[in-house]
Symmetry: C2
Subunit: 220 residues, 2 copies
DNA sequence: AAAGAATTGTTGCATTTGCAACAAAGGAGT
DNA sequence: ACTCCTTTGTTGCAAATGCAACAATTCTTT
């Protein structure tokens, strides 16, 4: 477990926890490491999960199969990422997603009951942990709200302008670089790439913005 | 405050708390009631909020103004509803929404620091409260995930089928009543009502489903 | 420099969509 | 039954979109 501490410390779950305290904390929490091989199923959709997972080594994907059996990749997990936290905290009966190892990897599992429970020795730590976990879930909440605002737009043009002006506002500049390639942006906005490209150049022609690669300028 | 206890008890924040304990708990939490008149601003977008609110009397709306100054109603609040919890738990700098009283109403405000903090007397209560608050935020998370799956569909037909089969699966029947009128459903799916109506009858013609008013039947 | 791969832009076309206007059906109250 | 109002369905049309195929550009590697 020792080699995991440096990585766990980077996880948002342990923000504000001293490295010295982390080891004692982990054993108090009943944290357990488990290894997975490439393509192993880490979490199977339809099962009940009661521990949150932290990926400490390797890479994994959160996936979901739809009715026709198409597998969609919902997100990529990398070192220090937390997963399954919302389903665990909600106490939901079944998790609807599958987590799959894309490389050999190691997961540290922490029982939720131990996080929210109190223990005689480290009560102060629990408070930090609980607050961190709540913050992680709440931040996702806010990000999803933003994304839903974008997805609720009826036209691609509106989606683009909403995304770009949100981004511009967030960074406080009207010239900025977005963290997406065209393909990724189209994915994010749930639109066709070529149709999006078309709308982008239309918006440029109409004088709303300018761009080069992933650098954008918004006018007025 | 006494007259609020029965209502607060119905709030998801106090699930599992005995009515007897609630009064002591509230004073320990530093809960404070505040009255608002119709059209009063309860939370102003752009300010920082550090307390969660529980509506104990009256009705209110969560709204958001876009760049052009159009006010969108994000949700309606009614008795015992919790609000602002995600922004408070995330510790976000500024809340992006405005909450407005649509009738005369009373709000009980509870400082977040008191919820996650510990106190000597009622430590066990805090645990329940923290767990409840986490659950509320996590459940919203899950619901938003479901909704994003729907909004990510490219066509109205797909949106409809995804929504309806999700709903069917949730209630475990292929004949069910949805809690939306056509207008509300179109709103929820972010599509035009008449275009949705068109797609619905097309889906019926193609034999995927049948419906009458808000009762639907899914085939196969 | 040349070749190859990946990213981005463009365009034609059939389909879908929003929008507006109107028709039909259903409900509530008189 | 009758009116009024709300909800739901239908349709024409211009605009937007997905899709496919291809062109242009940029980046990497040799």
């Amino acid at each position: 477990m020792k080699q995991n501490i440096k990585i766990l410390k980077q996880s948002s779950l342990f923000q504000g926890v001293e490295e010295n305290d982390l080891e004692a904390m982990l054993s108090c929490l009943g944290a357990a490491e488990r290894k997975y091989r490439k393509n192993d199923v880490i979490v199977l959709a339809g099962t009940k999960v009661t521990s949150v997972g932290v990926l400490v080594e390797g890479n994994a994907q959160i996936t979901r199969d739809d009715a026709e059996g198409n597998r969609a990749i919902l997100s990529e997990l990398e070192k220090a990422d937390l997963f399954a936290e919302a389903y665990v905290a909600a106490g939901s009966a079944e998790i609807p997603v599958t987590v799959i190892a894309t490389t050999e990897c190691r997961i540290v599992w922490i029982p939720f009951s131990k996080i929210v429970g109190t223990c005689s020795s480290a009560c102060g730590f629990h408070r930090i942990l609980v607050q961190n976990m709540m913050r992680v879930i709440a931040v996702k909440n806010i990000m999803m709200n933003e994304k839903m605002r974008i997805l609720s737009c009826k036209t691609t043009k509106e989606k683009l302008m909403t995304y770009l002006s949100d981004y511009s506002e967030r960074v406080g500049k009207n010239r900025f670089k977005i963290p997406f390639s065209r393909n990724e942006l189209a994915d994010f906005l749930s639109v066709d790439r070529s149709a999006m490209s078309r709308e982008l150049s239309r918006l440029r022609d109409e004088g709303y913005l300018d761009y080069h690669k992933n650098e954008f300028v918004l006018f007025q």
